[in-house]
């Protein structure tokens, strides 16, 4: 253990160089798999003579993307805004409720079974209904479905975090005459944060899914989900695929952004320093 310790206090340039070197080594196998996968896909289509409408070649998808990039990225951004809005509302509400449930445990015992049950409901099935509630052409209907999707994993994780504080930590704080507020700031919140981030990483993926699927049931013509559906209906599969790639790109970028914030915020976690 103590042998790894000096890394933390090394002069920055050397540590940075080492870090970059290690990153390259860490990522090289995954990148290799990506390249092999794309090459394999391309070759499989040629060898088995798969029709383009069933599965376009990666090069075709890439070309299609490049030609329609302005429209695709604009649509992606439009849908991402819905996902982001839903994420913010869903996570905010979930953390707020988790705080209440952690504070009043009786309330938690009364509501948690329903929260867990609700978590098992395929919420995405409600998408046509939220469209009806908020009018399908608005962003609000997609924000609503994304928010509900984000809500439960964050609630369950945040509550677990807030209630997993070691009793000895509370005793220690009390022995210093600390009040509830200080105990919350110094102990409960830092203990809960890793759990909340776990929930938020799950939610970031769900938010994008919720927004796109919500759009399948109707939405503005600028929306990515509408684009995917309409292109698939007119057999423009390469364009549908390019739009799916954009949706995936935004989803992955969102996840990575949350993961990055997590890493910066929780820099003290042993796992984050490995």
């Amino acid at each position: 253990m103590s042998t790894t310790a000096p890394v933390a206090v090394q002069p920055v340039p050397r540590a940075l160089g080492k870090l970059v070197g290690r990153r390259v080594r860490d990522w090289a196998p995954a990148l290799l798999v990506l390249v092999l996968g794309l090459v394999g896909w391309q070759q499989a289509i040629r060898i088995f003579a798969i029709e383009d409408f069933l599965l376009p070649r990666p090069t075709v998808i890439a070309t299609t993307f490049w030609e329609g990039r302005d429209e695709l990225l604009r649509a992606g951004w439009f849908t991402f805004q819905e996902a982001l809005g839903g994420f913010a509302i869903g996570c905010g509400a979930a953390v707020a409720l988790a705080l209440l449930l952690a504070r009043w445990r009786g309330l938690g015992r009364a509501l948690m079974p329903y929260a867990i049950a609700a978590n098992a409901i395929p919420i995405i099935a409600f998408a046509p209904i939220t469209n009806a509630w908020f009018s399908p052409l608005t962003k609000s209907s997609k924000i609503a479905i994304a928010a509900v999707l984000c809500f439960f994993p964050v609630l369950v994780n945040a509550l677990r975090g807030l209630t997993s504080v070691r009793p000895a930590s509370i005793d220690l704080m009390r022995s210093y005459g600390a009040g509830e507020l200080a105990i919350f700031r110094q102990v409960r919140l830092p203990t809960a944060l890793p759990y909340i981030f776990t929930g938020m990483k799950v939610a970031s993926v769900l938010a994008m899914i919720g927004a796109v699927v919500g759009e399948y049931f109707g939405g503005s013509f600028e929306a990515l989900g509408v684009l995917i559906r309409s292109r698939a209906q007119i057999f423009a599969f390469a364009e549908a695929w390019a739009a799916i790639v954009v949706a995936s790109g935004f989803g992955i970028a969102f996840y990575l952004a949350i993961a990055l914030i997590e890493r910066v915020t929780l820099h003290w976690l042993p796992a984050a320093r490995e």
Partner: protein, 267 residues
């Protein structure tokens, strides 16, 4: 004035479990008191009552002339648990300065004091490490430094070295005595180990179980300062024997009352 005064302190959990009964104890300034006894004798509970982490069912607890609660709010206690209870999100430095932050010390004063404390527990150079980067013994030294950082009137230690290996434990025992001598604090120390209690203490409070009572108080008149050689002093062994016999007497007495109560269904 005594630092701690316990008068008729009892503690029951629920209706059937009497953890402590009729505890009378006075602890003077600068004493090193060990509480020793079998599991379930309530020694940890007694320590927690002194620290106002548990309320007694009856009796009076006076700490520096105040109620235990007032003493806690006035930050008269430094507590060390069996686990170091360090906060993973704080560096060693910031763990030690936590009670100082809560007491509203400014940054410069905190910095100076934390450096002194690191020196005291011989961890200079480890201030920027995180707790998980330290060994168990080092973590416990950090928690001792944290407890001492604000000069509490009373240091309460609940089996602080219980989870450590024998070698580390003996070394930390010596360090603790040096710290105690330098800081002139009053220490109450819960332990399972007779030898540890005798080696460290000015008085050993022997407790018996069910209900938890003080069955004997053994004065330890070994010369100060104590060193590694103290453990080889014949008088050390005499005192260890005395405490051991007191412990057995206590548990025999317990067996006696158990038999008596078995014979009397009304009890």
């Amino acid at each position: 004035m005594s630092v701690v005064e316990l008068q008729g302190v009892s503690k029951s959990f629920g209706r059937d479990v009497t953890a402590l009964e009729g505890i009378e104890l006075k602890i003077e300034q600068g004493e090193f008191i060990s509480l020793i006894g079998p599991s379930g004798c309530g020694k940890s509970t007694l320590l927690r009552i002194m620290g106002d982490l548990v309320e007694p069912s009856s009796g009076r607890v006076v700490v520096n002339g105040k109620t235990a609660r007032q003493a806690r709010i006035d930050r008269e206690y430094g507590i060390v648990f069996q686990d170091a209870v360090l906060f993973d999100w704080r560096t060693v430095l910031r763990n030690i300065s936590l009670p100082l932050e809560l007491s509203g010390w400014d940054r410069r004063r905190r910095k100076g004091r934390v450096r002194e404390m690191l020196e005291l527990v011989e961890l200079t150079g480890f201030g920027d490490h995180y707790p998980w980067q330290l060994s168990g013994g080092m973590q416990q030294r950090v928690s001792i430094a944290r407890a001492l950082s604000f000069d509490p009137a009373l240091l309460l230690m609940d089996e602080p070295f219980g989870a450590l290996d024998e070698m580390t434990r003996e070394r930390l025992n010596l360090e603790l005595l040096q710290i105690w001598a330098r800081s002139a604090s009053t220490i109450v120390f819960v332990t399972h180990s007779i030898a540890e209690a005798v080696f460290l203490s000015t008085r050993v409070v022997v407790m018996s179980a069910r209900p938890g009572r003080i069955s004997d108080v053994v004065s330890i008149d070994l010369p100060q300062p104590r060193t590694g050689l103290t453990r080889e002093d014949p008088h050390f062994f005499e005192l260890v024997t005395e405490v051991r016999e007191a412990l057995h007497l206590g548990s025999d007495g317990e067996r006696g009352t158990a038999q008596a109560s078995a014979g009397d269904p009304a009890v």
